[in-house]
Amino acid sequence: MARNRKILRRFSWVVMASLLLTGCSTQIPVLQPQGPVAQQEFGLIEWSFFLMLIVAIVVFILFGVFIYRYRNTPNNKAPYEPDMEGSRKLEFIWTLIPVVIVLLIAVPTVRTTYALQAPPSTAKTDPLVINVTSAAWKWVFQYPKSGLETVNYLVIPANEPVQFNLTSVGPMNTFWIPSLGGMEFNMPNVTLGLWLQADHPGIYLGRSANFSGVGFEHMSFTVKALSIPQFNTWVSAVKKTAPALSSAENNQILYTHGLSPKLTFSSYPSTTATGTAGMSGM
């Protein structure tokens, strides 16, 4: 069974790859997952694509055969039955087969939906938490445990599930790092959780996928995944060298509409919109 699925996966991969006429298949992050969340989502993408492909092929074949065979030419010998009404049997078949296909997709969909909402089994009891706030038009990342803050770039330890708490102080955005996993919304007055993990140290791209106004295109950020010791070194270096964030500057970052370069702070004011204001649910 598992083996069959692997073969199916291979097969649909080949089909997908052959669809990529351009040959730059090295840069399709959604199809090249770099973490367990993206991996599970990719599994579903392949599986649903493969099943849909079967349906499409059947339709395309019937389509081609019928229009060729029953074309209106004078000496076409194919049978002609203008008064054919339908066929309960055939119609039953093509109702039943889609039902089966939908079931085959629905079951893993529901299973994965539940699985991805719960904390991953490998999560530590005290995981790294990062509060992510989208402002117009910058990303603010706060690390409550170490008290530091970065703007427009994110540093995470590799090989460890990280919990993101997403909120917004302006229009809605989505927090999306395609290599690591799917997106979730940043909405004002609400905090949503998202677990992600990078399997390897590396640099990944993140971006907002929900239009948030004239600076939207600049709602992108880099994600640097470091090995755990390197990550700890980074944290202590920031604590030592970066400036503290005053509450005036903090307000400016959050509420002034504009762009910002990458910024690093060793602390942030305690009563900010993130973390405290939001936990009011939906």
Partner: protein, 653 residues
């Protein structure tokens, strides 16, 4: 300190060159308007325009006006599309500024769905449905004219935004809080809210009108299960409109109150709930996408059956699947925001309910295929559009099911993968279906066919360039490109695909020029439809003259089967005997609908700018004209028998 390297908003805006395109557009609009006024005056056509078109209540003429307006909007929306594709042809272009790009994708989406797709289909419905059911007009002809003029002035209100004050720029979805005053102060969003509100009035009235028309006005003998498929699709669509559009009306009204009167329904502060907008929008929005696909399904069923020379395969299943799709379309709206954290149970429910739609849709696809099975397929232009529809729509539907897989949608949402999906269903489905209908009923509307050779070129090139534009979007979406980006960096592997898409888009534009040439050429050279039945049709619209007389049928048909006209031809038709003619009762033309629409426009324009005087003048106009209409006793007339005889004789009957 922070301010040193912190760009503020004004410097950010001035990074982009100021845009001269707007001025160009303004000049050309003024020029075109002046030209139209000049031509009408020079050829003394004002009275003709008023008597035959502006005041008409004839469903066929109203249908033609809908279709004309929809083509104008197609041109406008298409130009928006080409501007966007030009901007995205290569990385880091500054052909459009961010602000201008945002306005253009907003108007593109809104216009294409609300002012192009829907009116094009409503136009075809107006043209064909009363003829298909053997009726002399719709149930409420005067209301039908009101529908048209509110739609028309709603569209105009929306379109003048870029001449006066700036266009809306928060996307056709207009998500709060971005669309609230705090983040979007100018008049642009108000245009969106009021233009849609105005057009929505017309749409709801159309829904009511066709529901009643189909239920009450069918020719004797036509039971529900003897109605043509397009009529069935219209009936079901009308029901969806009646249930879905009031939700849009309410959502738009609440956001308008927020913006004009300072309420807080969807604001961030003061207890507003931005997400409530998202819910309301999609409770209307998902049924809306079915409002624009079901009529196309109906056209497809009729066209495939006609040109396969065969009954539709599985009539009952086709009807049941329409009804099932309509019912399901109200239970899936959350699939537009799986990523808003509703929780696993909710996402599972809406994921699975969405997949269920694939089942009735699959039934329809197979029944269409088997309608061709053992038929005799004539590859006319309408049939070619129908044939192009099937594989294209299958690709769109197949990616739709992939999007319905909630966890996978976390990776597709708002990416170009999604953009591609909905263009495959909206262009491959709605537009191909509408074009099938346009080519099919063209002779019924105008009395001549469009040229088949040019028609084939139109289909062929359009399908080719359509795929060239939209297929690469699936891939570029998986590469991480999101919708609504006004430009993109190089080095991510997106460039080549984007360039291909842009070339494809211009190809589609060129392909539409073929259609334009075809339309103009056919006025003079198109094959004349002298019999009224140029395609060897199956349903009642082909039993009358082309174009049909004001009263549609000199004698109402007596119906015994689904393919009534086909069966009558088999039995050997006997034309109605002139001795059996009776005087025909018809509604009078009326200028009130136009004036009411105009008053709505003046009121709406006033509200956009908070000019209360203009708003009050418009409102008074609406009330006055409604009042005057209710004292209008001269609303109908009889066409005498002699006149009917004369018209029928002139058509060779």
């Amino acid at each position: 300190m922070l301010p040193r390297y912190f760009y503020n908003f004004s410097t950010f805006m001035s990074m982009f060159p100021h845009n001269y395109l707007i001025y160009g557009a303004d000049v050309s609009i003024v020029g075109a308007t002046a030209l139209i006024i000049f031509v009408l005056t020079y050829f003394k056509k004002w009275k003709w325009l008023w008597d035959n078109w502006i005041t008409t209540v004839d469903h066929k003429r109203i249908g033609i006006m809908y279709i004309l307006a929809a083509f104008a909007m197609f041109f406008r929306g298409g130009t928006d599309g080409l501007l966007m594709r030009t901007q995205l042809a290569l990385p880091n272009l500054h052909f459009l500024s961010a602000q201008h790009y945002d306005e253009i994708f907003t108007t593109h989406g809104t216009i294409m769905i609300l002012f192009m797709a829907m009116p094009m289909l409503i136009g075809l419905i107006n043209v064909a449905v009363p003829l298909q059911i053997g009726a002399r007009d719709v149930a409420f002809p005067y209301l039908n004219a009101i529908s048209f003029w509110t739609f028309f002035f709603g569209a105009m209100l929306f379109n003048i935004s870029f001449v006066f004050g700036g266009s809306p720029d928060a996307g056709w979805t207009s998500y709060a809080p971005l669309s609230e005053l705090q983040f979007d102060p100018g008049p642009g969003e108000n245009y969106y809210l009021l233009g849609l509100q105005l057009a929505g009035i017309g749409t709801i009235a159309t829904g009511v009108n066709f529901l009643v028309t189909i239920l009450k006005m069918r020719a004797p003998g036509m039971t529900l299960m003897k109605m043509p498929q397009f009529t069935w699709a219209t009936l079901i669509t009308s029901i969806i409109i009646i249930f879905a559009f009031p939700v849009l009306t309410v959502a738009l009204a609440l956001l308008t109150i927020d913006r004009l009167a300072g309420a807080h329904f969807f604001t961030i502060a003061a207890g507003g709930m931005p997400m409530m907008w998202v819910n309301l929008f999609w409770i209307w929005g998902h049924p809306e996408v079915y409002i624009v696909i079901l009529p196309a399904f109906g056209i497809l069923s009729d066209v495939i059956s006609t040109f396969s020379g065969k009954k539709i395969f599985g009539y009952t299943a086709m009807v049941v699947s329409l009804a099932a799709i309509a019912a399901l379309s109200f239970t899936v709206w959350v699939h537009h925001f799986f990523t808003m954290g509703a929780g696993a149970a909710v996402n599972s429910f809406f994921g699975v309910s969405t997949m269920l739609i694939a089942i009735p849709t699959g039934v329809k696809i197979f029944n269409w295929l088997f309608t061709m099975y053992r038929g005799r397929i004539r590859f006319t232009t309408p049939m070619l559009w129908a044939l192009a529809f099937i594989p294209t729509f299958v690709v769109g539907g197949m990616t739709g099911v992939m999007l319905a897989v909630a966890p996978a949608d976390y990776q597709y949402h708002n990416s170009y993968f999604l953009v591609s999906h909905f263009h495959y269903v909206l262009i491959g489905g709605t537009v191909f279906g509408a074009f099938a209908g346009i080519y099919y009923w063209w002779p019924k509307m105008f009395g001549h066919k469009l040229n088949e050779r040019l028609g084939r070129w139109h289909v062929g090139t359009f399908v080719l360039f359509f795929n060239m534009t939209f297929f690469p979007m699936y891939i570029v979406g998986l590469m991480g490109m999101t919708r609504r980006m006004y430009t993109y960096p190089s080095g991510l592997g997106w460039t080549a695909l984007n360039l291909i898409e842009t070339i494809g888009a211009f190809g589609q534009g060129a392909s539409m020029m073929i259609m334009a040439v075809n339309i103009v050429r056919s006025i003079k050279f198109g094959e004349r439809d002298v019999t009224g039945d140029i395609w060897d049709g199956r349903t009642l619209e082909w039993s009358t003259t082309s174009p049909a007389a004001e009263y549609n049928f000199s004698v109402l048909p007596q119906v015994t089967s689904v393919d009534e006209w086909w069966e009558e031809k088999k039995r050997g038709v006997v034309r109605p005997d002139h001795a059996t003619f009776k005087p025909i009762h018809m509604p009078n033309n009326s200028g009130w609908p136009f004036l009411i629409g105009l008053s709505f426009f003046i009121a709406g324009f006033g509200l956009v700018f908070n000019w209360w005087l203009s708003a009050i003048v418009g409102a008074l106009g609406i009330i006055t004209f409604l009042f005057l209409r209710s004292f209008d006793y001269n609303t109908d007339h009889y066409i005498p028998v002699d006149e009917v005889k004369r018209v029928e004789a002139a058509a060779g009957r």
